[in-house]
């Protein structure tokens, strides 16, 4: 068993796992009932999918500048995507999208959430 074959297999496995998680994230986006739960599904495609796919590509690239660039891309993604997710959810809440929340008896209902807006987050300012 030579090393090249092992690395190739590992990289292929990572690529396939990443693609699988991206697809599952897409399915979740369609299945979830409201904005906030859909964002949870979308965060699968934000985190696990790029981590695995870029990891697999790094193994293909070897110890080169290409891999360094892939590391930088991954870091930028991991630093910026939560900021975008937070902005999206805060905007949805500020626009009055009521989240679907679980009741103690197991059902779910739309609930008004009391969210005091900070001064600079007031819409129209």
């Amino acid at each position: 068993m030579d090393l090249d074959l092992l690395l190739d297999g590992l990289s292929w496995a990572l690529l396939l796992i990443g693609s699988a998680f991206a697809i599952v994230g897409g399915i979740g986006l369609l299945r979830m009932p409201d904005v906030y739960t859909r964002m949870h599904a979308a965060s699968l495609t934000d985190t696990m999918a790029p981590m695995c796919i870029l990891g697999g590509l790094m193994i293909q690239g070897g110890f080169t500048l290409v891999s360094a660039k892939l590391v930088i891309i991954l870091l930028f993604l991991l630093f910026t995507s939560p900021v975008a997710a937070h902005a999206l959810s805060a905007a949805a809440l500020a626009q009055g999208h009521k989240p679907l929340l679980a009741r103690p008896d197991g059902g779910m209902e739309l609930k008004e959430v009391d969210m005091p807006l900070t001064e600079d987050a007031e819409p129209g300012k």
């Binding site: 979830m32 739960t37 964002m39 981590m51 930088i72 937070h86 809440l93 989240p99 679980a102 779910m108």
Partner: protein
């Protein structure tokens, strides 16, 4: 001064990695651009521990693998929820306390919460973060404060 030097150095390393051309003319052009940007940021007075959290870097190297492992674990559980036919979700909103002392620390904590699938930081008021969780258990598990403690340790104050 340490921050300015560190900023310039890390920008130059980034430039070297992205360019890939190592001839004298391009190397010096890159050095000039980096020095120019450090000078502009110095004039704007934006070089400090906040824009360039140098003090968090060594501890961050320990925190990051832990966070990646948490991300992998919660990815697995959210994927299982999505693929199970009954869609067993119980969306819950909880308020968690952020015990970090600096803004950088609080942002790191809120971003870590969002980055972990299944929990999403929706709103922040003072030292309280409003979190939307896809299951009740997932949202409540934040309250035991394991991640909070780790981010606080990242800040480096002795406690």
């Amino acid at each position: 001064m340490v921050h300015a030097a560190g900023l310039g150095l890390s920008m130059y390393i980034l430039w070297l990695l992205l360019s890939g051309h190592y001839v004298a003319l391009l190397l010096s052009l890159g050095a000039i651009s980096c020095a120019f940007i450090v000078w502009i940021m110095h004039r704007m007075d934006t070089i400090d521990h906040e824009s360039f959290p140098l003090h968090m870097t060594p501890r961050g190297l320990g925190y990051f693998p832990w966070l990646v492992w948490e991300i992998v674990k919660s990815n697995w559980s959210v994927a299982k929820i999505i693929l199970s036919p009954g869609l067993p979700i119980s969306p819950t909103m909880v308020t968690v306390k952020a015990t970090q002392r600096t803004d950088v620390g609080r942002v790191t904590y809120a971003n870590s919460i969002t980055l972990t699938p299944g929990t999403l930081s929706v709103h922040m008021e003072g030292d309280e973060i409003v979190v939307h969780g896809i299951t009740r258990d997932g949202a409540e598990s934040l309250k035991d404060g394991d991640m909070d403690r780790r981010v606080s340790r990242l800040e480096g104050f002795v406690r």
